[in-house]
Symmetry: C2
Subunit: 206 residues, 2 copies
């Protein structure tokens, strides 16, 4: 069983979607929802309100990857900064849980789910429901968007599809994450306990 947690990061509404990957590009719905924060509250409190709930989701579902929609800074800047804070908090949580965090652009997500990188919101929502075999996704669009980014990661070639490229049995994202991590470790003062935890994560994988 291979579970993926998708996050559509936002400060007022942060969507989350958990899917289980099955062989043959099939996915099943595990959990979905939206975490909200009060726009009148202090920004640090809002980020923590959301990250605290994401931490509980990671603990509950133990995903093999956290898939997050990448944000670009063209839009409204204060809002982008808030979204970037949420992504940073989730990067910390994924790192602590020894789970790779993968960013996907909106067009990657649309292409994975609908076949077209230019699909509109309603096409994405329709295809997310269809792929999961449900009528529709309840709640605000952030929930369906989070499922879409989880499905996007789950449709990436897995270890068995790419044996020639990743003989160790990792996905490309896991490999990139491991190499980055090992590179980081060379410079840092990690303990033997930390290294053992990394090993544990490798054993749990797949």
């Amino acid at each position: 069983m291979s579970v993926i947690l998708g996050i559509d990061p936002g400060l007022t509404r942060c969507g989350f979607g958990v899917v289980e990957s099955r062989p043959g590009r099939r996915v099943a719905l595990v959990d979905v929802g939206v975490i909200r924060s009060d726009p009148a509250a202090d920004i640090a409190v809002r980020v923590h309100r959301i990250s605290h709930e994401v931490e509980r989701l990671i603990r509950r579902h133990r995903p093999r990857a956290v898939s997050v929609e990448r944000v670009f800074a063209q839009q409204n800047l204060p809002s982008v900064m808030g979204v970037a804070h949420i992504i940073g908090a989730v990067m910390h949580l994924a790192g602590e849980a020894e789970i790779p965090l993968v960013l996907h652009t909106p067009s990657e997500v649309k292409a994975a789910v609908t076949g077209s990188g230019r699909a509109d919101k309603s096409q994405v929502q329709h295809m997310v429901a269809r792929l999961l075999g449900i009528d529709h996704v309840d709640g605000p669009p952030d929930a369906a968007d989070a499922l879409a980014v989880a499905i996007c990661e789950s449709f990436k070639p897995t270890a068995s599809d790419t044996k020639a490229v990743a003989p160790a049995g990792e996905t490309a994202a896991q490999r990139q994450w491991r190499l980055g991590r090992e590179r980081g470790q060379a410079n840092s003062k990690r303990t033997a306990g930390d290294a053992a935890k990394t090993g544990q994560w490798k054993m749990r994988r797949g």
Copy 2:
């Protein structure tokens, strides 16, 4: 004793400075340094490399506040996003530790330390060392900048200076943080355990 952790957030070099506030706008050096991450590593790994060390600093020093230099998005955008990720991760850590996180603009920091919001880097570094009663701050400027943002927070009027405004004995930042937090809690499904932890923080304060 009132300890403040200052952070000059950065992805390649993140400065940290810990100071102890003493009566009469005096400060003493507790800890200072720079956390580095490998520019060739994956961004999520880099953010976690830094946030993991910040978490250890919070556990070691148990500051009453985390003071962070606010970043603006005018500059190089990818670099601002990286800095915003670090700030978000630190917001999560401060929230988990029940410590208020306060943002200060660069000009607030300069004004607090040198008396002028337009002071240059070398004036700030000179005054930081002088205030702490040391010859100079070792290492890259990020270390001195982190001490400056910690000193800026420690120079804010404290509970006893502002009794009329904050009769509960909080600093303005603590009050803002508590109100924001209480507002957030009204909407959230926090447990009794969480509420008890908040109470504990209030008892530990001051």
